[in-house]
Subunit: 189 residues, 6 copies
């Protein structure tokens, strides 16, 4: 069951929501860092090219806003950053995990774990704008099945939550955002 | 609506005009920089090879004309420069975002935000010549829909503005340029 | 016979279980390290892209948990790490050798040989969670044929061991795990 | 009109002649250089592999003959050299721009602009030999249309100029060369 | 005739046995090393990916067992190692040259030439185990034709030598091995 | 005419013989070197993978036999070595230019020009053995047409010269070699 996935007991993990042909699903983004002579970004979990670019954009946003985010601006220097999305054999793609990637990275760098009852979806741009994504209904239902209490969504997807059945909506709190900083305040609360 | 795209509140963002099979569109180019042991250029947003080369040309023009542009000649050294064009999953190509790329980079390096009411299109060469591009009518109409007031275009496209309906033309100011320095003076005013 | 494979007389070797179209099989993961100006990971044995990512995830888990695992945090710095899975001409893929990779690497770094009578299968995530895998029945039978006494499996695969014939089960001890640290305690005992 | 292309007002630009299925054309090669930790050659303008190799050969000839060419032997060290051939979206290939590439690079390194009324075509070898190329008639006519006065050609193409109509020939001066040093003396005069 | 191949008069050459569609063949593996800022492995002779990985495994085994093999542990540091297998235009693949690669590398590093009358075949693993290979009969006959006196084979291939005609067997000495160290003792005797 | 190719007036050029579907041809191999932070080998002239490997083998032979060849062992360190084979647009492949590559490199490093009246063909191995090649008759005829006086060939190709018409043979001196050092003595005489 999904519940086994969403216990978060250490920094560097964030819970995202994915759309698959079989419906919505909960996925966890894991980030770690190691000392390295050459800075580089290691991406695993069979990530497609759009998702790989999405991690790059998230990382640049985190690095170029370190001060504002309360993290050490030098944290990512001389480090190899590794982002993994289990399950390892399942291909994944698309930009909608952008804010989840950013959250996992800020959690890692700040040492603050993400709240276990929070899940999210949304594209991130280099300057932290949060852009709308698809599959909101299916994603929210997956979050509900997994016992999530707070779902962070792009402001431009607000109307899409009207399609979510009342049964799920009554158990959930929605937070609509236009900027990735709002995501951090909510998720790392 | 497009308006949500064109608020510019920080350096490193410039508004371009794109031609798509569905008509003209407004796009924003985002640039950021991070300290890096190895200088490199990170390009995201599903950019095709012509557009990737276009960013390279824009960056070289900026770097080799730093003094004239009033930016620190050392700004780009020991840095990773990241240029992203949302939306992340939409493929983009062609040379016509060249001057927009250059503007985002000069804005980033100078710390001066680009004027929010300015949009532009035009190919850039390594020495800053501005070459003509296609789709002028559709691009100008997209700028108009987005509330843009000033549109910067290549001098060699001047005649193409005659095809723009009077309704749009009366709300817009056109600036025709042959050299990228003129773009900077207008956009970073 | 498989027995020739499973004598382990030095650090850096761990015994995994693989599923092949022809049934289960025992395989050995070999790890070695050399001084290197540039840190890098060399992967040989015709490993597919999912398995290659799996070694990356295992290595990052080991490196970012060095202290907890009782190994020198600097062991992997300035080293080329080489992981090989014989036989060299047989293509291999999938995430299920993840904990075996991690075990070989921890054994290498700690200088403690893996117990010869232990075999294992299970996906590893960047933070050491152990995820379920397929082919449990065939893999356990292969372990039995090879004279293995202890089989380490993901907790979420516990029910799959019910399909293993009693004849094999009575000779084997099963250890079910959710975290890779439990694997290390058992295998490097 | 082509005339807009051939004003040359700074070092690093040289005018070449290209053959296209639609006839001859004038093209400009632009070269620039930037400080760089790692020396590298950046090639843009949708250059095919033969043309890319041609730039490499031109650059090596320039670098290994710096003293003889009156340029600083250290000019290209610790630099990224960028060669661009507009228009950015038009694929280009073949070895015939070799001497034009060399001329743009020597102009860049010496700070001496190329003469605006000179155009050229010819393959270059690593040791500066100038080899014959095709499409002489069409290229010369394009030069004539563009207002060029001096056309530099490989000595082995001398007989091909007989095919050029008298009307064009009477306005042009031909310089036939076997060695790239002769090109420099003529173009950078 | 093959005899011309098997005179070995300097360190870094070892004689292997290959199976081809046309029968067995003798091949020589050549190794050399050069000072290099970046350590790397250069592989030439149209080697397929399995054979390339095989050289990597052999090199790691040699490097991580340098002391035991009586070679300078620093020999391979700051060096480019080049392994070539003539003839240059003939594609070659498979893991069976593993111990031949290891022997050429140990010979190179130790300065001790390989015995000219010794040939060998066998896969090597990262920890020096010698695994069985195919084509034993054809390979042994090729060795015999080439005037070889001692043939080193994997222990697990011992039974395959029964297929070798008595006429060849009576001229040959077979050495069966399970570990690459035994190969070195025999070949570098 | 071919004669224009074979004047050699500086170090780093050697004359080879090629077989093409249209018959034999004379080609010139050009080598140059430049200071470089990272050692590397630049290969141009549309060289196929076998010919590229052939240059690598030649370079390693030269570097690891520098002392014996009377060249500075440090000549190739901290240098980019560039080997070019005109004409730039003609694809070339095969191992038969190996000794020509080696000769151009030794000429470059020693500063001694190759004799203009010498041409050669033959595969080289990493340890300088010279292996036989094809197309001897056509290659020798091409050398004769080009005014070559001395043709260096692999010893194992000696019998193939019987197919060369007496008319050509009477004007030529053949030198048959088994080792690349003999080539150097003849060509750099
Ligand atoms: Ca799931
Ligand atoms: Ca894709
Ligand atoms: Ca839009
Ligand atoms: Ca393209
Ligand atoms: Ca087996
Ligand atoms: Ca795959
Ligand atoms: Ca034109
Ligand atoms: Ca091509
Ligand atoms: Ca043979
Ligand atoms: Ca293969
Ligand atoms: Ca010719
Ligand atoms: Ca090939």
């Amino acid at each position: 069951p999904e519940e086994s996935l969403i216990r978060i007991d250490r920094p560097g993990i964030a819970t995202g929501l994915a759309w698959t042909p079989a419906g919505g699903d909960v996925l966890q983004v894991e980030a770690a860092a190691m000392p390295a002579a050459e800075e580089r970004l290691i991406l695993t979990g069979q990530l497609g090219d759009v998702m790989r670019e999405s991690v790059q954009a998230a990382l640049t946003w985190v690095r170029s806003n370190a001060a504002k985010l309360g993290i050490d601006p030098g944290f990512f220097e001389h480090k190899a950053v590794h982002v993994h999305v289990p399950a390892g054999a399942v291909p994944k793609d698309g930009p909608s995990a952008g804010i989840t990637m950013a959250t996992a990275l800020v959690s890692l760098a700040s040492g603050r774990p993400v709240r276990s009852d929070v899940a999210m979806t949304g594209e991130i741009t280099l300057h932290g704008r949060v852009l709308p994504v698809g599959g909101i209904k299916e994603k929210v239902l997956a979050a509900h099945r997994a016992g999530i209490r707070t779902v962070i969504l792009p402001k431009e997807n607000e109307r899409d939550t009207e399609d979510v059945p009342e049964e799920a909506r009554k158990d959930l709190r929605f937070v609509f955002v236009t900027d990735a900083e709002e995501v951090m305040r909510e998720a790392l609360g």
